[in-house]
Structures are given as C-alpha cells and as structure tokens.
C-alpha cells in the first residue's frame, strides 16, 4: 500500500539529532506555556464570574466562524481565515504522522498512514498549504502596501513622528512572524517537490502542488541527484524552521495562538458593562503588575497588535493621549519582564488613563476579547486612591460624596422637576408602583434635561403607567463614579440606592439615563433582584406599536440617531429607539458609525467632569461633522441626558447650528402623539383642579408651594412674624454650671475675661511628639428656598444642608502637610457640635487627621465664636497642643473670629488669614498673612500658636471612599463639658429675618430675551 518513508536515508546520528531538537523544541514550548500560566496564577482573582462552559462554546463558535476577525475588516478576516485553517490543518496533519510513527506503531505495530487515507491526507495537506501561503501573502501585502494607520505604531496622538524603539522591535517581530510561517510553508512544498522528483510515487502521492513545483524544477534542469541533495538539505531547513517556530510560540507573537483561545474562552459577555469588584482585603487599585487579575495578564498576551481598538477608540481619534492597543502592549512588555512588583504607572502615564471614555468601543471590536477599559479603570482606581486626579474631578467626587449628586444641589431638590407637572408623581418609597423610575443626576438637575424628564413623565402618564420616583432618596446611580475609579464611593452609592429600593415596592425599573441603566442592570445585583431595567425607549416603542400611545401626527422628518454607548454597545439595546423613530414616521438615516460602532459623545468614563487637554478635537464635534455629512438631516436624535448636553453644545461650537437640531427622542414622540400638557405656569386652573378632584396628595405637595409663591410676592413668608424677644433669649437651657446672665449696662463696668471651658478628661493617647489640633465645623448651607422658624430666631432646620466648612479643609491640609513634612506628629480634628456634626469630623479623619474630639453643650450656640473658642481652649489645654489651626472663617456665620478668640483665651500667640506657614516643630513659626488687596505680610511667631488658614493656601486632598471607610474606625472622643463661665456664653441671635429686598431690577424672560437686554445695557454703557 502506498505511503512514504519517514527519515529516509537518515544516519542514526541525524535521526537522534532530529529527535533531540524536536524534544527540545517541545520542551521549550511546554516550559514557556507553564511559565506563562504560573505568571497568570500570581494575578488576583478575576473579580467577575467566569462561565467556562458558555465561554468555551462561544470561543469555538467565534473561532470557527472567524466572526470577530471579519468585523469591520473583511480582508483581514479572510486572510486570517486562510492562515488559521491552513495552519490548523497542517498542524493536525503533522500531529497525525507523529501519532502513527511515535505512538501507535511502537505500541501496537499497527499503521494507518497508508493507502487511500495516505493519498487523501496528502491532498488535504496540499490544499491547506496553499491556503496558508495565500493567507500569508495577503497579510504581507496588507502590511507592505495598504498603508493602514492602525498598523502604524507611531504614537501620533502623542505628537510623536517616529516609532519608539520598542515599536520598531514589534514591527520587526510582525514581519519575522509572517515571513517565517511563509518559509515553513514554502520549504514544505519544496520538500514535497524534490521527494516526488526522486521517488516518483504513483499518482504523485495526490500532491498537485508538489507535483507542479517538481515539474517546474525538473523543467528548470533539476535532476534526480540534485533533487536528492536539495531534499537532504531542505529537510533540515523545513524541520528546524518548524520546530523553532514551535519553540518560539510562547515568546513571540505566536503566543496569541494559545492565549487568544484562553482569552476568548474566559470572555465576560458583559465586560465593561460590569466592572470587576474589589475583593475585601485586596488593594483598591493596581500599583503592581500582580495586582492585575489572571484574566488581565492573559489578555496582555492575547493581543495580536491588530489595531482595531486603536482605530475605534474615540479618545485616540480625537487626539487624546491614549491608544488602547498601546496601553495593552506596554503593559504586556512589563508583565513579561516577570517582575510582579513592577509599577505599571511607570509605563502608563496618568493623562493616558484619564483619557479613556470607557465607551467600550475597543473591547467591542477586539477579536480576541481583551477588555482594555478594565485595565485602565483598575489603574485609575489607584490614582483616585492616592488623590492624584484633576481638581475639577476631585471636586465632583467630593460633591457627590457630600450631597449625592454631581450638581451640588441639596438632595431635597432632586424631585423638584416634578413640581411643574399637572399631576402628582408618586413617591415609590411610600406607595407601591408598577414601575420605579430611576431618574439620575442629569435628568433631575440639568435644566434642559429636566424639560425632557417632564415630557417623559407626561408621556408615561398619557400611557397610564403606574410609576413613581424615589425623590430625595435617590442618589447618583454611580455608573460614572465607578468608571472614574472611585470604587468606594460607588459602593456607598449603590448601597444607599439599594436600600431605598428595598423599601419600595415595584415590578420593574425604567430610566431615561443609559448610564444609570447600565449600572442598575449589570452592577446592582441583589438590589435589583432580577427585575427588568428598561430604557424609556423600550417602553415607548412597545406602546407606540401596540397603540397604547397613538401617533396622530406622523412627523415625516429625516433624522439620524446616535446610539448612546451605555445603551447600545454595553447593553445591546439598538432596536427600541429605532422602532420608536419608525413608529412616529421618521426617516432614519444611519451615520457611518452606528450601533456597535457608535462614536462616544465624549462624556463617558467621567470625562464630563475632567477638563480636556489642549489640542484635542472633542469627540462630540467629530460626531457633528459626521451627522452633517449625511446631508439634509432635520434632527440629530439622542436618548441620553448626557448626549443631549454634549451634542447641544457641540452643534453650536462645531458650526453646525444651521444644519440640524439636536433633540431627545421624547420630544419627537410628544409631538407625534400631540401630547397636550397644561402649561406649567397656569396656576389658577391647577388650583381649580385640585379643589375639584380633591386629590389629597396633590394638595399636600402643591399647597406649600402656593404659600411660598404667595409669600414671595408679599416679600414675607406666611409664618408668624419674628417677635423680638424681650431682654433674655428664651431658649437658654438651664445648665447648672452656667452662671446666669451678664451684668447689665446699668451695673458696674467690669471686665470678665473668658476662661477655657472645663472638660471632663477623656481617653487619648499619651503625647509622644508634635500635636496639632484643627478646629472643624459642621456648617449649614441654605439653598434658594428656605423658611424661618416660628420663633423667628433661626431658619427651619430641614432647609439646611450640612457639610464640613470648606475653609477648614484648607486648615486640615495645612496640618497634614506639616506633619508629613516633619515626618512626625499627630493631627487631631476637634469639632464643637452636637452628634449631628459627626459626619464633618469623620470627613476630617478621612482626609488624614489621626483622631477626633467632639465637645458639645446645649449652653453654647454654635453661632457664638467666643463660646466655641472657650470649648476649644478646654480641648487645647487637655491635649497640650503645640499648634492649633482653624479655617479663616466658617461659611455659615463668617465671624472669622475663632482663631483669635482662642488665642486670646489661651494667651497664645495667634494670627489670622495665613496663606503660608513654615515650621520646624520647635522654634518660631514663619507665616505669611494675606492682607487687603493681596498684599502679603510675612511675620514670625513663637509657638505654641493659633492660626487661621485662608483658602487657596493649598489644595485640600481628596478623601477617597477607602479613606472614608478607614476613618470609621479612627478614634473619636466625646468630651463632656463640666463647666463654662457665664462670660463665655450668652451671645445669641435676637432675631433672624430676610435681608431687605435688594434694589435689583430683575430681567425676566427667556435666556435670549435676557441676553438682548444685557446686550442693550452693555451697548448703552459703552456707546454712551
């Protein structure tokens, strides 16, 4: 039976030699593989569930169909398909021969590689070889002549004009890889050709390519002897090349052939939509290579440098300093160095990390399932943890931590947008609803988005949906907070919202905000408990199609639609908005980049909170050009509050103002169903309706507002007018230790110096070094609406939002910088306030103060700086402090007096409005005070001293949620006051009122009308 002899005419030495090389090559492969696997195992847990079975099935599917490789690049897909299947077939073929020769035959004496099987085998291998060569030639042509930007490693987005040395090495590697494979394939064919010339087997062993090549070589004059010589030499060339290739797999580009399978098999179908959690006890962010998870490490190796992510990335396209491909490649280099302790931040600069929009475009198109944004995010977590971020972003995070929204609005105003509605919106915490509407920050607070929220509410109402919202119980969902890298804050927000939802009865969740939708759907877990989280376009599409909402006026507009990243790419909701547009009679013209290839508006990943680096073209502008190029579009439709904001801005700024409108899909629907809404300012009719329907809750909600509206007109609130109390304030609590009343003016003139309050001793560590006290205050802030207490001595407590006095943050920072600079010392935060002041004390601890002390007495008014100073003096004496810092003033009562009063009581040197301070902890303090007009006065003071620190003296650090959590376990002593002198207390507000109404003439009307008035004023003043 026909077969072919292996190792024909081999000396035993050559034979042994070959096996030695082969075994060494295999060993190199296995060792390499093992080394990589061991390295991955050093990584941290995946942090997301890994579905091995589903993953494997999906991986096989992807590999067989080559789906992921053909997307958006069919040429590369076709070429890779040829290479892959050609190579795989040749690999299986070669393995079959080994199986017979080295295993089956030695063990059983049986052979099967002969006869028809042999002939068929030869034919198949010939075809596979042709496929391989064709694929390789296609790839070589692509690299050599297509001039593809994505295959260019020059970092133009960073302003480079030449490749970095490591990029040049990658380029060489790419070529060596292709050329080696090609040489292996060609030498295989040559081997076949010369064998056929020498052996002349029947049917030429059914090897058409070999036969043809043999014919050609014979025709060129190669005789049997020559062929035999070539055969001997080429056998070694082919063999050694092939074995070196195997040996090199683990160390070269070839490793994607293994890693990509792994990466695809452990793919997370919800990657980017669902971010890995931080396990308890694990570091928050990545600061060492082995802080990455094993999946991350595997991903680095799976990268083939195909550049699809580089092409798709909106940041890279807009000249931000980021290419997802280069991030992965740089991290891979570091990972391969094998140093688990290496700091990835040394190779990926912060501006690169902050450039990511976490839109998921890169991960979406990656043919091997790499999750680039996840690596970036994990590194961001470390930056946030160290407080290394843009001050604007830091401000936003602090605001969100303080008030639960990024707009810095008081929580109680979250539901304010519903007030203009002509029907009540249910409070889902108080009564069961079918749908819980999670509104989100933008839709709640941004004025433009609020109008959309009201439209959506009216549409829901028109469709008879039983819905409710959480009002002040809702906080930012946390999607973007998490993507910024503030994991702790995200946990706190999701826990809060989760608890609010747990209190409410509802069947499903709806939102207009894709960002909220994403995190609720994918990251809230238990809180959402398998309930559906729908986008309003899902609801509207169903209603419009079923007739629950009737289109009475088809719009007939030519529109284009922008897929929000978080709705489309991350949650695969591409169709509902398109169904809506179809139902309302719009002609949809798709932009070149749509659906999974949608181009981020530039707001994602918290970028909306970070200033753009110079030289970037905003992604939203690029998008506007793209839409304008469609020609004759009436409307650019969005269905995401952030998109609306971004594109409204971009349309004007990019010069397309006259080309089309930007509108939310709800606005179009409202028009198409001719939604009739009662004008919001039509109060009399509303009042009638209230009277008629006697809807109790409406009354409850609207009446206070009517009262306020009326009160605003008459300039006073309809509460009892403040009565000026007679001589004595009425609310002095009877404290035994307080000596009654100060001598009246009629009595003897006398001085009564204020002494420190006497405090009961409390637990505190022994003093071992420098001790700096920082006085911090929990201050109340009034919003734009407030009422007075009936006694007219203060405002209604509910109208105050409390937070740490912002000026104190500067003082805390100054103290921390001092002890950090000296390398020793303790910072003690002290607050004079009731238990309610604890959050501000904790915040001071979170920022780095080592422990806290809280003192309170009802005999003291927090608005009285002297009483506050007397209590602080009590603490400073007990603590034997070396330095006391305060903020320059508190933002509520702005007495600007605490520091000097404290200095006076203690008899210590003191200074106010200090902007610079140097101290060695022993001698005199060098200080700079900022005087009127910005003049600075430099002085020195003996220690111990009291200083008030002016804002701007430093940039207060950001307390990450981790620090906030740690602060919970820092010690806080509650010091009890035993006695305070009468001279220290008793200063109280006698009356509180609205300031006299200013003389300002208020300009009313739309922004355009007001602008016209302002313009007229400007022109008059300038022209006049």
């Amino acid at each position: 039976m026909q077969t072919r002899e292996l190792f024909s005419q081999f000396s035993p030495f050559a034979f042994g030699m070959f096996y030695l090389i082969a075994i060494a090559a295999m060993a190199a492969f296995v060792v390499g593989l093992a080394q990589h696997i061991l390295r991955y195992r050093r990584g941290r847990p995946a942090g997301v569930p890994v579905d091995w079975r589903g993953g494997l099935r999906l991986m096989l599917d992807d590999v067989v169909t080559h789906r992921t490789l053909s997307r958006r690049d069919p040429y590369a897909g076709a070429a890779h398909r040829l290479i892959f299947f050609g190579f795989a077939t040749l690999f299986v073929g070669t393995s079959t021969i080994t199986l017979e020769y080295d295993i089956v035959k030695p063990l059983t004496g049986q052979t099967f590689w002969k006869g028809w099987f042999y002939l068929g085998f030869s034919l198949v291998m010939d075809i596979a070889g042709v496929m391989l060569v064709a694929g390789l030639v296609m790839m070589i042509a692509r690299r050599a002549w297509f001039g593809l930007a994505k295959l260019d490693y020059v970092r133009r987005y960073r302003g480079d004009t030449a490749p970095l040395p490591r990029a040049t090495a990658w380029k060489v590697e790419d070529w060596v890889f292709l050329v080696t494979l090609l040489l292996i394939a060609l030498s295989g064919f040559l081997q076949e050709a010369v064998r056929l010339i020498v052996d002349r087997p029947p049917l030429s062993d059914l090897s058409p390519v070999g036969a043809a090549l043999g014919g050609l070589l014979s025709g060129l004059g190669l005789d049997a002897a020559g062929a035999a010589a070539v055969r001997r030499a080429n056998w070694w060339i082919h063999g050694v090349l092939a074995l070196s290739f195997i040996a090199g797999v683990a160390w070269t580009k070839g490793k994607h052939m293994v890693a990509a399978f792994g990466s695809l098999a452990v793919r997370d179908s919800r990657s980017v939509a669902r971010l890995p959690a931080v396990a308890e006890g694990d570091p928050v962010g990545v600061t060492r290579m082995d802080d990455f998870s094993w999946r991350d490490l595997l991903h680095f190796d799976a990268c083939t440098k195909c550049g699809r992510c580089h092409d798709a990335c909106p940041a890279r396209n807009s000249n931000y300093p980021l290419s997802p491909r280069d991030v992965i490649l740089d991290l891979r280099l570091l990972a391969q160095s094998g140093d688990g302790a290496a700091d990835p931040h040394h190779v990926i600069p912060p501006e690169t990390l902050w450039a990511c929009l976490s839109c998921g475009a890169c991960a979406e198109i990656c043919p091997v399932g790499i999750e680039q944004p996840v690596k970036i995010l994990k590194m961001r977590r470390a930056l946030v943890d160290k407080g290394e971020m843009d001050p604007t972003l830091r401000g936003v995070l602090e605001t969100v931590a303080n008030v639960g929204n990024s707009f810095g609005e008081p929580a109680r105003k979250r539901g304010a947008w519903t007030r203009e509605l002509e029907f009540p919106v249910k409070d889902a915490r108080k009564e069961p609803v079918e749908a819980l509407w999670f509104v989100g920050d933008f839709a709640s607070f941004d004025p433009r988005s609020q109008t959309i929220s009201r439209l959506v509410a009216r549409l829901f109402n028109a469709g008879g949906l039983d819905f409710g919202i959480l009002f002040d119980g809702e906080r930012t969902a946390g999607n973007d907070i998490r993507r910024v890298g503030e994991e702790g804050l995200f946990e706190a927000l999701s826990a809060h919202n989760g608890a609010q939802m747990a209190q409410s009865a509802f069947d499903w969740i709806v939102t207009t905000d894709p960002h909220s939708l994403n995190t609720l759907r994918n990251e809230y877990g238990e809180a959402v408990k398998g309930r559906k989280v729908l986008h309003y376009t899902n609801v509207l599409a169903d209603w419009l199609e079923s007739g629950r909402l009737k289109v009475t006026k088809p719009l007939g507009r030519r529109v284009t639609y922008h897929d929000p990243c978080h709705l489309g790419r991350l949650n695969k909701e591409y169709d509902a908005p398109r169904r809506v547009l179809r139902a309302i009679g719009c002609e949809l013209v798709e932009m070149p980049r749509s659906r999974d290839n949608s181009f981020c508006c530039g707001a994602g990943g918290g970028r909306i909170w970070t200033p753009d680096p110079p030289g970037v073209e905003k992604p939203s502008h690029g998008r506007m050009h793209e839409a304008a190029a469609l020609g004759n579009i009436d409307i650019f439709v969005t269905c995401c509050p952030k998109d609306l904001t971004m594109f409204e801005d971009a349309r004007k700024a990019s010069g397309h103002e006259g080309d089309f409108l930007v509108a939310d899909i709800a606005e179009l629907v409202a028009e198409a169903v001719e939604l009739r809404a009662i004008p919001a300012n039509y109060l009399p009719e509303l009042a009638n309706r209230i009277a008629e329907s006697l809807a109790e809750k409406v009354t409850a909600r609207v009446v206070p507002e009517l009262i306020q509206a009326l009160a605003a007109q008459s300039g006073r609130l309809l509460v009892a007018p403040p009565v000026l109390p007679a001589a004595e304030p009425t609310d002095i609590a009877a404290e035994p230790a307080v000596v009654d009343a100060v001598p009246a003016a009629s009595g003897e003139w006398s001085v009564a110096p204020v002494a420190p309050a006497i405090l009961a001793d409390y637990d505190r560590p022994a003093k071992t070094g420098l001790r700096i006290l920082v006085a911090v205050k929990h201050v109340g802030k009034l919003g734009d609406e407030f009422r007075f207490r009936p006694d007219g001595l203060d405002v209604v407590p509910e109208d105050l939002d409390y937070q740490l006095n912002e000026f104190d943050e500067t003082a805390i920072e100054a103290a921390l910088q001092l002890v950090e600079g000296l390398g020793e010392g303790e910072v003690v935060a002290v607050t004079i306030g009731s238990e309610e002041a604890e959050p501000s004390l904790r915040k001071a601890l979170a920022k780095g103060a080592h422990r806290g002390v809280r003192v309170w007495s009802d005999a003291v008014s927090p608005a009285d700086p002297i009483a506050v100073a007397a209590l602080l003096a009590g603490v400073a004496s007990l603590e034997a402090a070396d330095l006391v810092l305060t903020g320059v003033q508190s933002s509520d009562f702005a007495n600007g007096a605490t520091a000097a009063a404290l200095g006076g009581i203690l008899g210590w040197p003191h200074a106010a409005v200090v902007v610079e301070m140097q101290w060695d902890g022993k001698g005199r303090l060098d200080i700079t005070r900022e005087l009127e007009g910005g003049v600075r006065h430099r002085q020195s003071l003996p220690a111990p001293a009291v200083l008030s620190i002016q804002s701007g003296a430093n940039v207060p650090r950001y307390a990450t949620m981790r620090m906030i959590k740690e602060a919970r376990s820092k010690p806080v002593a509650d010091a009890a006051m035993e006695a305070i002198g009468a001279e220290a207390t008793g200063r109280r507000v006698a009356a509180m009122d609205r300031p006299p109404v200013g003389q300002a003439a208020m300009l009313e009307g739309s922004a355009a009308e007001i602008a016209a008035r302002v313009a007229a004023i400007v022109r008059e003043k300038k022209g006049g």
Partner: protein, 320 residues
Amino acid sequence: MGGILVVAEHLRGNLSAQTGEVIGLARELKAAVGGPLVVAVIAADPVRFHAELALDGVDEVLAVEAGEHFDPAVYEEAAHRLALEMKPRLVMLGHTVNGMGFGPALAVRLGGSFVSDAFGVEAEGGRLLALRGGYGNKVLTKIDVSASCVTTLMLRGGSAKPPPAGSAPLRIVPLDLQAAAVRAAEHRDYVDPPPADVDITKAEFILSVGRGIQDEKNIERFRALAERLGATFGCSRPIADSGWLPKAHQVGLSGKVAQNCKLYIALGISGAVQHLHGMKHVETIVAVNTDRNAPIYNVATYGATVDLFELADALEREFN
C-alpha cells in the same frame, strides 16, 4: 465710664479707609450710647495720624507708641489697657484682616458682647441691636448687645461714611506693653502682588465669573465672551484659589477693587462680602445667579435668575 473706643488701623504709613467708616458709625451711635468718642492709634509715630483721625464727632485721639507694623499681641494689649482706663460701652474696629487678627482676642479679654462683620447697629429705646448676616449672608440677624457693659464690635467695610474733619485734641498715652512681648510677632516684610497684564482697578467694564461656572474648562469660553463684549475678565476668589485664573483677575477684598468700573457683570458669583467689597460701588451691576436669594442681588442694578451657560450662549449670539 461709657462712650465708644475706636481702634484705628494703618498699613505702611497709610491710615486704613475703614477706620474713618468705623468712626462714622460711632458718631451716629454716640447719642444712643452716651459718653465720649475716643479714637486710639497704635504706631511707631502715632502723632502723625492725629489730623486724619480728628474727625467730626471725635472727642479725643489717643496716641500709643509701639512698633510700626501690626502685631496682634501689641494691639490687643494696648486696646485692653485703654479700655480698662476708659471703661467704654462699645469698642469698635474694622472687620479687616488685621481686625480679625486681634479683635476677637480683645473681646475675650474684656468679656461682654462681641459681634464681628457687623454692618450696622440699630439703637432703639435704649436697646442696641447689632446687624450682621448669617448663612452666607442669606439672612439678616440681629444680636442684642444691650445687656453687656462692654461690646466689641467689628464693622464690615463700606457700612458707614467717614465724617468730615473735626478738631479733637491729641493725648499721648504712654503704655507699658511688656506683657505682650512673649506673644509678639516679629515683622519680616511686605510682599506686593506681582505685576500682571490685567488691571482690575483701571477697567471700566468688567465681566467676572464665580464658582457658578463649575469647571476649569469653561474658563476659556467666558474669557472669549468677555473679549467679545470688550470687557476685562474678572473672577471671584475661589476661581483664583483653584488656579483657574491668575490672582490679578480677582475682584474683592483680598484681590483688587474695581475703582474705575462703570459696568460690572457678575456671572455665578454669590456676592460674599469680600467680593462685594471690590465692586458694590459700581454704577451699573448686572448679576446672573440662579439663586434668587444670593446676596449679590442686594447690590445689583439688574439681575437675572437664568442659568449662566444659557445666557452665555445667547450673549455669544448677540455679540456675533
């Protein structure tokens, strides 16, 4: 016993403008409080200030020789000694940076009442009510200081007018200030703000932005708007503190006073006292703030509670 003691303030040889204002209010209160109005000045060469301080209504000018430069310990000690001697009903000084440096310390040594950042005193039926703000100046509070035998009162700048010149005699009061020595500050030097390419003091038309603009990235947009309108670009302190604009743009107490300004547009500025200090005298002020209760409206000629970004959009169109 009784009367009013005013502590004067000066810097680098110049009397502080606020001292005249404090004397102005003291003169108005003289009748209600009773007793003399005495002004004390503490300086290396205090006699020099006699003429400037001998304003109408002042009964006596006290000159205390001490160091030339402000030192809280010295001021506190000197004022305390004078108060012990004079036993005044009111001790008044300016709510200035130096005032904040020693006023409260003086108050705790005297005991009695204390009101800082007051902008007026109502005297009615023997009662004295000091007026000051509260909750970021969104409310007006009245503090009853009638019951105390002495009250230390720090007056906000611009709350009263200096009286015309008068003819009070000068008395040199030799005081032993040794007690203050242990706490004394040592003067180093004064540092003037660096020269800058904007001059708020000279500008006739200023467009200022405050924290309402939210983001550093919006600075450029408003700078361009100011340019388009032909306005000098100003800001509130937090904007300069954050480094979004150089300090030279800052309007207010610790920044620059818009001395020659005829038209001031304030976008997203709440109107803190210290900011108002730099601009409230301007003839025409346009304030844009979404908070109808923002104190800026107390000084504005025109106001609009419109979102400043929307207004900026519209203004950009107006001035295209």
